[in-house]
Symmetry: C2
Subunit: 176 residues, 2 copies
């Protein structure tokens, strides 16, 4: 593979790699409760644009995540969240637009919440699961980088969830 460049023009983003789109029906099981008002519209909760890089050790995958604003009942829109299959692999997020929280946890029970917003860098060390939550009324957009061989373990989170959830209650962001 030779060096290449791509544009991160948010009006027309295309990194020429995987484009993942998660709609309400795809991921409704991650929320505390289902929301009848979303059943018909089945909105896109988030989408991810990845770089076209082989999933091999030595490479780095870069991506842009767009997590749309909204709630499932009182719970803010969020990503599925995952551990890396190869657990000793970190991830770096750079906030581009919007405001959100990155929920992080380890299999031994540590939990941490990091704020992300424009020009804020979040460092997710190896062994920490990560999920993004949009706590604002505009899309949360961030640039991310992770080792290409890391892989995604969504199953552990699907089974046991994150330690805490993030709700909007009386206009306040509540982590509980």
């Amino acid at each position: 593979m030779r060096p290449f460049t791509v544009s991160m023009n948010l009006d027309n983003i295309n990194f020429n790699g995987n484009h993942i789109v998660r709609r309400y029906e795809d991921i409704k099981s991650i929320f505390k409760s289902t929301d009848i008002s979303l059943e018909g519209k089945n909105p896109v909760i988030y989408e991810v644009f990845e770089s076209p890089v082989p999933e091999q050790q030595g490479h780095l995958i870069f991506l842009v995540t767009i997590l749309y604003p909204g709630k499932v009942n009182e719970e803010f829109f969020m990503t599925k969240g995952h551990y890396h299959t190869v657990e000793n692999t970190a991830e770096v997020y750079l906030g581009i637009k919007g405001k959100g929280l990155i929920l992080c946890q380890t299999k031994s029970g540590d939990f941490e919440v990091a704020e992300i917003s424009e020009n804020r860098v979040v460092y997710i060390p190896p062994f920490w699961a990560h999920r993004a939550v949009n706590i604002f009324d505009e899309p949360l957009i961030f640039f991310g980088i992770y080792p290409a061989h890391a892989g995604h373990d969504y199953e552990t989170i699907a089974q046991s969830g994150f330690v805490k959830r993030v709700f909007s209650k009386n206009g306040r962001v509540v982590i509980e």
Copy 2:
């Protein structure tokens, strides 16, 4: 290590890790010729702010490089450039401000030039040496990420240089 966040506020950047400053006298040997007009001032050519992350496999180091505008005679200001000591390690740059070129080459003689500017991502695959060149009249600023165990081999470049250099000639950017 726990997750953490830092601000990429360019007015007062501090990632709390290594801060590398390279002045003319430190790196004048990388240019084709010395420039008497820079001997007294000894200007800063570039500086790098790195994240405080252990240099261990699994971690990722993120950084901001500020490469100042200027020339050594006709040759644009540039970074030392390096291979990674652990050669099978990539690097990702995201342009923040300014305009530049990333010169890339392999030990087997391949050479590539990638343009970098605001919101443009440059992917430097494993095994490719990389050097930044500022071809504009403002600082070139980019965000970068590389595996923390990669290490820097400056010596190979110090001995044999890059295949090409970038000059300003009659107001044009010339790669030769």
